[in-house]
């Protein structure tokens, strides 16, 4: 091959890959079944409160490459399952001054089926918005006499994922009315606030531009139904609050802390944007 035809085929290659990028726009058409048995709803009608912005909501799985998608289709390939397995052991291990394990009170972890789709939710007694991390740490410090876990540590996120796994395939269904309403409104306001020197809101990318490429990143709707999610870039199970923090940091803003009331409110609002999508944790993303 002479020089000229070499560069001609190089140009053709560049043109072809430019085409491939353009064809990327929007979610793909793939469907997700895990372990050949659990069907995951990755696309459904948007909840009523989003009717003026979306017709359809999509799981982030639909925006990833085939290679990344395949890692979530079989638990043996899913790198997040190692942390979940460790949590299963911790679940049955007595800890703290009381000498109890999770299993001692709750019996089998499958008894948690149905809880994750409703989280976070308002505790009727205290009036506080409670995330799964809060509930786990409350058990540890108040009932087990054990130390609280760090919000985004493997111990905590493994347990959040293990409990979530019991609801895998069930539709997200967080309450946004009644006592949840003021938290939901706070989270909504945050979602549309343009933070930092780049003046970017969640909505700028995940509502107005989902499906588009921002440099090498294919923007999703920013759904949380797959969290805790195994993020290949960070090579561990990532909490919702950690991802919120990373996104706000990248607007050149002062972030909020993981476990802050602001992020609890944002967690509720973002979860409500995914009402109807299946619980997917531990999902696998880029």
């Amino acid at each position: 091959m002479n020089k000229a035809s070499k560069s001609a085929s190089y140009i053709a290659l560049v043109a072809a890959s430019a085409f491939a990028v353009a064809a990327h726009a929007g979610p793909d058409e793939d469907s997700l079944t895990i372990n050949g048995e659990t069907e995951i709803v990755t696309e459904t009608a948007a909840p009523d409160h989003l009717s003026d912005v979306f017709d359809t909501i999509y799981s982030g799985w639909r925006f990833r490459t085939d290679e990344t998608q395949s890692l979530e289709m079989d638990d043996f390939d899913n790198p997040g399952m190692l942390t979940v397995d460790a949590a299963m052991e911790a679940y049955a291990t007595a800890e703290g001054t009381v000498g109890e394990s999770c299993q001692g009170c709750h019996e089998g972890v499958e008894t948690f089926a149905g809880l994750t789709p409703t989280m976070p939710k308002v505790d009727e007694e205290t009036g506080k918005l409670v995330t799964m991390e809060d509930a786990i740490n409350d058990c540890r410090t108040e009932r087990m006499g054990a130390d609280a876990w760090k919000w985004s540590g493997d111990d905590m996120q493994g347990m959040v994922a293990l409990i979530g796994l019991q609801s895998r395939g069930m539709p997200m269904n967080v309450a946004i009315d009644g006592p949840a309403a003021p938290f939901w409104e706070q989270g909504k306001e945050m979602y549309y606030t343009r933070y930092g020197q780049l003046e970017l809101s969640c909505a700028n990318c995940h509502e107005d531009n989902y499906g588009n490429m921002i440099r090498a990143d294919h923007l999703s709707q920013g759904q949380t139904n797959g969290f805790p999610t195994y993020r290949l870039k960070q090579a561990k199970l990532i909490s919702k609050h950690n991802r919120f923090r990373g996104c706000i940091r990248d607007t050149r803003a002062e972030t909020f802390a993981e476990g802050s009331d602001e992020f609890r409110a944002l967690e509720l609002y973002v979860a409500s944007r995914g009402n109807g999508l299946s619980v997917e944790t531990p999902a696998v993303r880029q």
Binding site: M213, A216, I248, R252, A253, E254
Partner: protein, 158 residues
């Protein structure tokens, strides 16, 4: 006496000249349509550095815009319109206004304001996630803006 007056006059002229050379981010004169007629520095833009800013540092224009003239840049974004032909579609003054603060031209646009230092919500210290302290530097310097505009002016319709 005359000498003193002359010295004061000279100092004033010098001072004015130095001030006029770089327009502060808070002093940029946008017209009703968001355009900025006067150069921010008085120094002509450097096309080559403008091309570098398309890819790197605080510019990173290619994160959101496609630039056909720079095919060597991988992963060109799809958020904003392609910049091809920008130098034919817009005047230099319009491009200067859009780069400095696009919100003056397109109300509510997602595009960051590259020559602005005020009015941010929870301004951080670059990408650390921590609060910003002290004087605020714009995303691009005045000369960077001129360089970017000079590069964009070379992107003519074919």
């Amino acid at each position: 006496m005359n000498k003193t007056l002359g010295a004061i006059a000279a100092a004033t002229v010098l001072g004015t000249a130095a001030w006029a050379e770089t327009v502060a981010p808070t002093a940029v004169a946008y017209d009703d349509y968001g355009a900025v007629e006067a150069s921010l520095t008085g120094t002509p833009g450097d096309v080559e550095n403008g091309a570098v800013l398309m890819n790197k540092g605080a510019g990173n224009c290619v994160a959101c815009h496609q630039i056909g003239a720079l095919p060597e840049l991988a992963f060109q974004g799809e958020i904003g319109p392609a910049l091809d032909g920008a130098g034919s579609r817009w005047t230099e003054a319009e491009l200067r206004g859009i780069v400095a603060n696009a919100k003056k031209t397109f109300e509510g646009t997602m595009m960051p304001s590259f020559y602005k230092t005020e009015g941010f919500v929870r301004l951080g210290n670059a990408y650390t996630g921590k609060a910003h302290e002290g004087d605020v530097a714009p995303l691009l310097t005045a000369q960077d803006v001129e360089d970017v505009v000079a590069f964009l002016m070379t992107l003519k319709d074919e």
